[in-house]
Chain length 344, copies 2
């Protein structure tokens, strides 16, 4: 099943694990120095290699999609925003359950992405690695004995691996400890970002942690290090909860119930407010204070209420007030369903 | 029925009308200059006059009440906070439906109060006046041919009448027009105050307007002037609504529904927040956007959630967090009842 419709290991605090492998073909220049003709040829060769693997990919023609459908792919984390900004031809091969997405012609010729719900780094990496091996066996890959895989940006040289984990850290966020944690983790070679990536503020108490190093450390060691850091952050979060929300359960219940009340009644809601309220609802799920609701349902709602996905499901472009209205409708229906599930 | 369990004329925008008549006995000094012995004697004479009238009064012994029960009387506007602070003996005679309350030994020897739901000034005054006439016929009242009734404070000399109307003005409040209105009305001899009286900020968009003049104008003329001003303010409020809430109905529906959502789910709530949310709910009632709810119900809730009345109904003193919790319980139950009434 699509990752964002499920919940995985440690799924109460961890939304998803994501692996990205960068690969390039030997005989072509990187990125902007590629001519359009070379780009087209390159895409065909990679598509051919993937098709020949016997794996079942959906060959998405991005140029045929509406801007809303394109944006929805970004929101579902199937493509990067940068893929849509490339001057040369680009492509997307999508595994049927959306757990594998192969971007063609982004910064690197090939970027294989694998996503899983919860904390599930090694299986996610194994799935991406299996795809990479098939491509590597069929196409001449830019690789050096000394450095490993060569990439457009030197920060990816070596394994070409970026692993990231999206966590829900309401207590650490509330206590204002994310920034200090972020500074410490940076010294260890890990980056902390918000829900919407590089420059985003922490929205909905969601924090993404990923590796900076791709050189001088093997994939399994790196994943093990990242996994350990994530486990430590979970411990910090769990310990911070009493301090953040008080030992007094009623304050937390109040917070969770108010979120349910507003999500279940609002007629207009921005995605910022919705993410913050879904964070409170998720806290309720984690603490057993929100019967009828699940982390998987919240994962799915987080995607559904994003502007592109909203417009895609409406089948037409929507102005901001219309989106706020439709977003409120989706959330209201979801809350009503959760409440009636809890009642039965 | 008790005024705050009902709704009266213009009850969608007007909470209540209140009349207060000040009277003093001729042969006793005013206020602080009264000795305790004189005070006791005075109270007995007034009690005797009222009892002999054949009207059915509850003789409330304030000194036997707990601080919470005393506070609850203030919250139900049956006594003034000042009555509890008098150095001399005080008393309270209460009509059985709480529409008439006679304070004994406050600033003036006798203060007769009459309350009605909605805009109902003349009947309220007639009820108070009937009580006053009985007392005047049985006791020697301080009165001068030139000034009329004499009172402890010169601002009440003449009719001894203070008439006030409590209005719900969410649009004018939101547009920040209350202060300017207040300045203009002051020039006409009327005072605008908040829900909690003299120095209170406008809470729950509730505004009280009352007369300053008690000299040189007959009671019926004064009530007619005040009634006209109130009608004008209602017109201003109704006209301001489109500007304040937009012609876009969904913004108002959102506001009303969010109030229902929060009131229906919160586990802790302060009286300030509750009053503001009840104001939004009242707006919903006025606009037909809150089926299952009524102005009378909101009037009653506004009293029930006040600290003293809360503690009185709990039967014991409650700390602030306990009050917030019990207040939330009362509101949650009321919203659940309203919602199920709307559903049937």
């Amino acid at each position: 099943m699509t990752w964002y419709l499920t919940s995985g290991p440690e799924g109460d605090l961890i939304v998803s694990s994501r692996i990205r492998l960068a690969r390039n073909l030997k005989d072509y220049p990187f990125g902007a120095r590629l001519t359009p003709e070379q780009g087209t040829e390159l895409l065909e060769r990679i598509r051919g290699a993937c098709r020949a693997s016997g794996d079942d990919y959906l060959d998405v023609h991005l140029e045929d999609l509406s801007p809303q459908e394109q944006l929805s792919l970004v929101e579902r984390r199937l493509i990067s925003p940068e893929l849509l900004e490339q001057p040369n031809p680009v492509g997307l091969l999508l595994g049927r359950d959306e757990s594998i997405a192969i971007m063609l012609g982004e910064e690197d010729h090939i970027r294989i992405q694998s996503m899983r719900a919860g904390l599930d780094l090694v299986p996610a990496w194994e799935a991406a690695d299996a795809v990479a091996r098939i491509i590597e066996s069929r196409l001449p890959i830019a690789w050096s004995e000394r450095y490993g895989f060569l990439t457009a940006c030197p920060t990816n040289v070596g394994t070409g691996l970026r692993a990231s984990v999206m966590m829900h850290l309401p207590a650490l966020t509330r206590l204002g400890q994310i920034e200090a944690l972020s500074r410490n983790l940076s010294k260890l070679g890990f980056t902390v970002r918000g829900y919407h990536g590089e420059h985003s503020r922490t929205q909905g108490c969601l924090v993404q942690i990923s590796n900076q190093l791709t050189l001088g450390i093997g994939e399994r060691d790196l994943l093990s290090d990242l996994g350990q850091i994530v486990e430590q952050m979970l411990q910090l979060e769990r310990r911070a909860r009493e301090q953040a929300f008080g030992s007094d359960d009623i304050r937390t219940a109040d917070r969770v119930q108010r979120a349910i009340g507003i999500l279940g009644h609002a007629r207009l809601i921005t995605s910022e407010e919705a993410l913050d309220l879904l964070s409170d609802l998720r806290l309720g799920v984690e603490l057993g204070l929100a019967p009828g609701f699940s982390a998987a349902q919240i994962n799915s709602l987080m995607i559904q209420i994003e502007p592109g996905t909203l417009q895609k499901s409406a089948g037409r472009p929507l102005e901001a007030p219309e989106r706020d209205c439709r977003r409120a409708d989706i959330l209201r229906n979801a809350i009503a369903a959760g409440r009636s599930a809890a009642a039965t």
